[in-house]
């Protein structure tokens, strides 16, 4: 049976310690993140699920160095990483492919921003196109691609930067369920080929269990870690595993906690509307 457990590795790739974040809002402060702690080991795939608006994206922004926490620590390979932007490659909720750039140019954006000469950056990005199922679309514009392809292009733009850790904020949230399943299979494939360390935000419990080594459930706002579950399913996983009894047990365990938190979050929002 899976249990809540602490990560026991020599040096975790990511260490988050007592992270807290408050925003100043009209009439006081809004506590969004409240003493969140977790570790991620090198090469581990961790999913974060939590009710809508609980502070997942805020947490990612802190990890990516875009926001500073009110208190707490973020360490990467044992070194302080607050305000550092060089460790994480960030894939936001929207694909944010720029219509004025071709797919190859979009994919090379991160490298160009980091000062790699334009031609070299684009050549480097082009090399990854076949693996991302985008061969032949290098010179297309984003509006010529399907939703699934756009999402793969956005992920390509993320990984080509060669950063140590991927932060994926609901990459498949906007896709229909069939395309989403294809993308999950595909992501699993490329992830195991490249041994990336990845943290994925999702609302989809099935997706979290299917893809992850560990699933962290966050509570309603102010958010803290409600549950940290290791998923001991053999890899590589295929769709058959999703109908197994073990898989169902994981889903059941997560869904109970998550629904409990979602109810709280919903009640919070109702209060917010009432006041």
């Amino acid at each position: 049976m899976p249990t809540e457990q602490e990560q026991v590795t020599a040096v975790p790739r990511i260490e988050v310690r007592d992270l807290a974040k408050q925003f100043a809002v009209r009439g006081g402060v809004r506590e969004v993140v409240d003493n969140v702690s977790f570790d991620v080991a090198p090469g581990e795939f961790v999913s974060v699920i939590g009710p809508s608006g609980c502070g997942k994206s805020t947490m990612f922004n802190i990890l990516a160095g875009l926001e500073t926490p009110t208190s707490g620590e973020v360490r990467v390979d044992g070194r302080d990483a607050i305000g550092h932007r060089e460790h994480f490659a960030y894939m936001p909720q929207k694909d944010l492919l720029f219509p004025w750039r071709t797919i190859a140019e979009n994919a090379a954006l991160g490298l160009e921003v980091q000062g790699v000469p334009r031609r070299k950056a684009r050549a480097q990005a082009r090399e990854l196109f076949p693996a991302f199922g985008l061969a032949g679309f290098e010179d297309s514009h984003p509006f010529e691609l399907s939703g699934g392809m756009r999402q793969r292009a956005a992920l390509l733009r993320t990984v080509v930067q060669g950063r140590e850790i991927l932060l994926l904020d609901e990459p498949f949230g906007a896709l229909d369920s069939l395309t989403r399943i294809e993308m999950q299979n595909w992501l699993q494939g490329v992830w195991s080929d490249h041994s990336w360390t990845a943290v994925l935000i999702t609302h989809d419990i099935r997706e979290a269990v299917y893809l992850s080594d560990r699933v962290i459930v966050l509570s309603a706002r102010p958010t803290r870690v409600r549950l940290d579950v290791r998923i001991d399913l053999e890899r590589p996983r295929d769709l058959a595993v999703t109908t197994s009894a073990e898989f169902a047990a994981y889903e059941q365990q997560l869904i109970e906690v998550l629904h409990d938190e979602s109810r709280k979050a919903f009640a919070q929002q109702q209060e917010g509307l009432a006041s």
Partner: protein, 286 residues
Amino acid sequence: MTSIDRADGYVAAATPAARDRRRRRRIDPVRLLSTVLPPVLILAVLLIGWEVAVNVTGVRPQVLPTPSRVLSEGWGQREAIEMHTKATLQVTLVGFAFSLLVAWVIAVVVDFSGWLRRGVMPLLVASQTIPIVAIAPLMIIWFGFGLMPKVLVVALATFFPIAVGLVEGFNKADREASNLLRSMGAGRFTEFRYVRLPSAMPSFFTALRISITYAVVGAIFAEYVGAEKGLGIYMSMQKNAFRTDLVLAAVVVSAVLSIALYLVTFLVERLVIPWSFKERKARHAD
């Protein structure tokens, strides 16, 4: 890997769409005709109606000349009109170039400083409440009859829509896009270059189209008040000589000038941001 094979399914599915798009481009001449024909027909009907009405009622040409008279008399004066048109075109282009420069400088500076934005924007709005009728003669008093006062009048009449179009265009950039750029290590300047500037281009060209139609009118107005040559002063002179036909001939020329400049903005837009056209087309296709 089966997942990659599935991904290839998209390739097969998306290629016919691309072929479709190519086919659509080929029927363009027909579409062009269908956009040009209606205004031409309506204009022809109006002109014929005008011609007939003047001939039937026997109005004196000093009051209202027939279109054919406007054309023939204008044609007779073509050398003079051409000379004045060139002068007006020069004022328009120099004035508009200056206007563009001013608008860009203001918009970029304002984009980089929230403090300046709060300080400058109200002044810009205030500048648009100045009646040009009142300021144009003063410009002549201050700067004489040369190019300078006219350039200033054209700029005053046209810079505002461009500046506002740019400022709002820069702000159209997605906040999350800025975050993405920052996560890649971009500073404020890189962010501007890679996101805010390109995001602003479609609204820039919309603003450009609006303001260029004011440019010719602005130039003519400035010349009307006082100039050595130009369509404005030509109109003023012919009006004083009761040559209504020649005034209208000059009006026709200035209208043609405005329309031509308006069309040029589409051409420039197509050259500068070809992606915007493709995107719009792709969106209309489905």
